[in-house]
Every structure is written in structure tokens, then in C-alpha cells.
Amino acid sequence: MALDPKKHAMPVQDPQVRAHNFNEVALGYTHEMALAEAQRCLNCKNRPCVQGCPVNISIPEFIACLKKDDIEGAYQVINKTSSLPAVCGRVCPQESQCESKCTLGIKFEPVGIGRLERFVADWHNANSTAAPQKAASNGHKVAIVGSGPSGLTCAGDLAKAGFEVTVYEALHVAGGVLVYGIPEFRLPKSIVAKEVDTLKQLGVEFVTNAVIGKTLTIDELFEDGNEAVFVGSGAGLPNFMGIPGESLKGVYSANEFLTRSNLMKAFRDKCDTPIMKGGKVVVVGGGNVAMDAARTALRLGAEKVYIVYRRSMQELPARKEEVEHAEEEGIDFQLLRNPVEILGFQNPENPRDERNGFVTGMKVVKMELGEPDAKGRRRPVAVEGSEYVLDCDTVVIAIGTSPNPLIKSTTAGLEVNAHGGIIVNEEGLTSRENVYAGGDAVTGAATVISAMGAGKTAAKAIIDHFAK
């Protein structure tokens, strides 16, 4: 059989239709497509894809099961190393991880590993009736701070090894960024709930509304009988640009904008949480969060959505598929542009005018790419006199976050770096005995899968420590 040089395309909702609903954009492979795509895997000897995966899923093995139409077998292979396959199949940047290493990718398009992973996980969730087996207890208690990707992964691995695990979540629902950050149309919340349920069946306990550092401290978690603590408290406060007008009404951080829509369900009519809808929206930034915010604004009813990014399309850090989807949906990319000032309404005659203080536009300046910086990225330089105004009603700033201060400020002896990130060794161990950490709380804003990798590393270190 001749090898298809291209990946099987992912069926998606029509861009014109999906721009107005919150249903999932990518619809997933059919059974036939999945089996056909699996045939493209060469099952090569050196398995470079496995090294490309932060949690080292045995990719060729699960694809080999798929080739034989043993979908449950494929799931069991993935499940050995990944606690969240239905999530990763959707949100991992495969093009820079497993798929970037694929041998087939040297000459052709790589195998659609992420799409296959998603198919296998969705099939399992829809068809498998076998309840996950709870491991026999080893008598050791561990507390996990935060129920985002790193915490869930760490919890899953520890529970499978027989630990008694309690996950503490500050918000009212488990899932962390998977719930408050990533929108429904990219990761349906029912999928996150299903993954959390699976962990509950493995014996993991979840305590919501527990703000560690406030409700309970790390020291109290130890007093409560926990022998180790994993801190996966995630990204913290949003960064702002420090330009005039950032406190005008209608200026959101991406965290706030997405939290209002995703966690608080402001996109639904019957929800109590307000959000500014409609009009023209400018999103500042070029990462996945910026794409999520722009596409959310569109679905909330914006007539026009701009993305303002200071470098070019080539440097855009977002996952490729998200950028393509955003373009198809009609998001207007204002590249090589930098915000200078956010403009607001002010009625000089009437200080009580209800419109006073609301955003009316953003002044931006054109940029050129200059010399590469220390990281090799070409530094953008403003073109003098090139400023112009984009009319808008809402601005969403998606330029990253700084770590949350709550745990650092209430945990004696926990060392952090200059950026506030918790310092860990290669096993995820912090400067405090038996306190481990991982994910954005350590690295600053990064990806779901790298956080999962960190949760996994720490779980392994904890398992090894107590096996001694």
C-alpha cells in the first residue's frame, strides 16, 4: 500500500458556523480515519516520537494496537504514562513535540499522533465499562495543591502506586486552567470532569474552596498526616503592559476574560456573571491564551476581533492549529504592531456621563524586526511616527503571568527565583523537605503537557522516596 504523504485531515465544524457557537471546533477522527492514519506509522526502530513527549507515552506501541483495531489495548498503553489522554490529544502542541520528531516527518507530514491519541481516549470514554482499579494502599498520605494538569497527573500516578491522595483546589471546581482557562470549544468541560471522575475512582479525594496558603498552610498539611506535598498551584497574577489606559473600563486580562466566560459560564444566557460582549475587541499577545481570548470574544458576539502582536507570523508562539482556526474564523491579525496607549471616552461637559471611562480605541505603533536577542528571537523595534488608532470597545491583554504569591509568602523555607517561580531540582523537590512542585508555579506560563511532565517527575520521586 502506497504511503499517504499527508496526515488525514481532522474533520472540523464549518468556520462560519463555529464562530458563533461554543461547541468543539475539531470533531475527531472517525474509526476508519483513525485506522487509516495508524497505518502511516512506520514503527521505526529508534522511536524518536517517545523522546518528544514530555510524559514519554509509548507512541509506536499504542499505534500498533490501533493498527490491529485493538482500541482499548491502545488506551491501556497510553494510560500507563498519561493520566489525561483526552485532554492531551486536544491541547498538546504536537507539532513541536512528538510529531516534530516523527521519522515520517523528514520526507512527508508526520503521523497525526495527537489526533490518534484523542480518538483512542474518546473511544475509551464512550465505550469502556471497566471501572479503573483502585490500587492497594501503601499507607502513605500525600497532599496535592492545585487540580490543574500537573496536580491531576501527580495525583493519578501516586494513586496508581497505592498512595492516599488528597487534592486541594482553591476554586469551586476541579481542573485548574483546563476549566477556567481553555475554552469549551477547544476542550469541552465534560471531558475534564470525566478525567477527574476517573481519578476519584482511583481513590483520589478532592477538596474544593481550599486556598492553600490561606485556608490551610503547607505546614498544616503535614500536621494533618501528609508525608509529602506537591505544589501545582499554577500561573499567578496577569502581567500588564504599563501603558496609559490599562485601567479603563473594558480592559481585561486574558485570565479575567477567560475565567468569566469559561469558569463562570458568562457565555450562557442564564449565568449571573457579566462580561462585555459585542463591539470591537483587541487582544494583545500571540500565545495560545491570546488565540483563546480572541476566539471567545468572537463567539460572544464581537463584530470584529483583532490580535495585536509585536512580531511576525513566524514568531507567533501559539499552537499552529489554533492560529489556522483563528484565521479561518476571521480574526484579524495585526502583526508587527505594539500597543502604545488605550484610549477612553470622557465627556468634558458631563463628569457623570455613564460612558465616561470606557474604552474607545487603542493606539498602536508599527514594528520592524531587528537583531536577534539572547534567545535568538529577532527583537521588534518601533517604527517612528507610524502610530495609528484601532477603534475598539474591549481590550484583552494576554502577555503572560507572574507566579502567585500566596504559597511562597506563607511557607517558611520555600525558595523562589527572581521571577517568583518555586525553585526545584531535577526531581521536582523544592528547598523544603518532602515538598515538591511543578508546572507554571515553577516555570511561569507554559503548556499543559509540560506541567503534566513535571507532575509525573515529582510523582516518581515521591514513589521512589517512600520505596526506600
Binding site: E246, S247, E256, K265, G357
Partner: protein, 282 residues
Amino acid sequence: MYKILCKKELNPTVTMMEIEAPLVANKAKAGQFIILRVDEEGERIPLTIAGANKETGGVKIIFQIVGATTEKLNHKKEGEYIQDFAGPLGKPTEIEGKKSVCIVGGGVGCAIALPVAQAFKEQGAEVTSIIGFRSKDLLILEDEFRAASSELIVMSDDGSYGRHGNVTVPLKEMLDAGKHFDEIITIGPVIMMKFVTLTAKPYNVPVTVSMNPIMIDGTGMCGGCRLTLNVDGKKVTKFACVDGPDFNGYEVDFDEAMSRGRMYFPFERHAHEETCNLFKQA
């Protein structure tokens, strides 16, 4: 779910509730706040803690009925449950080392000012309290303030109770008369806190204000509660949820905070009317 241990109407628009939340009660200190959700579809709102009892695990909140959420909360009865209750959040009010303080409370803000006054009294400070209300019907916690203060002045905007006028009037009189305060702590509407700060400025008395901006998570994640401080001539962004809610009054940009606080007024008005109509139909 969190049980409502006790409910009491303090005036027609202000209600006190005690919520069973032992972990919060264990830690709560004056000046801190909680975030609650009434039901599964509800929004997260911050309310400052008005008192806590470690023995019963009860945490006292006092709220004014201003929007859909507080309307729904007010319809809950003693013995019923609310969906979520998280805290204690924010930094406690700094009370150590102060021997003479003036507490200036306005409206429902007095509910939060009271535990601060009590905490100062407990550590032996001399507490002077000025509390202000629009009119007599809206007066709350007068007896409690009297017990916590060595001197209490009650003001009403319309003259229907106590002295006629704003809280800044007696404050200025006392400062003019040479009364010494280590600190003035003011809690209430932003406009009142702004004018208390302006009143105190010529006398160089430190002023602490308790800010109550719009919040969602309340844990240092969304950034909605940001405010601008002017620190030594430089503008600095701070977050009320983790850096506050108490701030140095001389540094806060009150006008910006007031403007931001009005962001959802049209929405809130609409949502409140709709909720009221729902309850009428039921």
C-alpha cells in the same frame, strides 16, 4: 455546601448571616474576606468577614442587597445551604503596635469596620469610632460599636439620627482640636474613603483604606481587582485580593477605583430587576 447557621435582618437592605465554615473560622482575622457562590449558576462575590467563631465554626458576613447575587442570598433561610464559601482571603488589617486609632465606617462598610475596632480594643488600643449612614433606617451595629469604642460618633446624611452631616466633619474637628491618632482606618464607599484621606492629609496622620473592587477568583489569578497606587511619584498596579484589601490611603487612585467599580452597573441593575421579578412570580 455550607450551612446558614443564623440569619438576621439588620435593616431593610442589610442582612447578617453566619455560615458554617470551620476551616475559614479557624483562620479568619479582621480585615480579611471570603468569596461565595449562592448556587450552581451563581457568580463569585467577595464579602468581608464580619466576625468568626472558632468553637461553632461560624463565619459572619453582612451584606447589602444591591444585585442579583445578594438578592438570591437574602432569599436563603436559616438552615439552608449555599454552594461555595472560600477563605479567609487577603491580608489581615495590621493592628500591632498602635495605641490610639480612629475607625471611620460608612454604611454597610461599618460591618467590616466593627471587627477591626474590636481587634484594636482587645489589644488595648484607645478606639474612637465615627460611623455614618444615609438615614436612621439604615443604621446598623450601633450598640456593638459603642461597646468596642471609647468614643462613638454617629452621623446621618439627612440628620434623622445622631449628628447631621458627613463622617469627615467630626474627624476634622478632632484633628483640629489636636487629638492624636496613630492611624485612621476607614471602610465604606470609595468616595467616603477618598474624602477621609483628604481630610486627614494636612495633619499627616496615616490612613488605611479597605478597598472592595470587583473580583472573580479572589486568589491572585484574574487581575480584575487591580488598582493603581502612586508610590513616590510612580504608578504601581496592585491587586486587592492578594496585596490588600487594605492599602495606604495616600497612595490609592480613588477616582480610577470608583470608575472601575461602575463597569457593570447597567448589567447589575438589569440582573437585579430580573431576579426580583423571578422571586415575585414564585
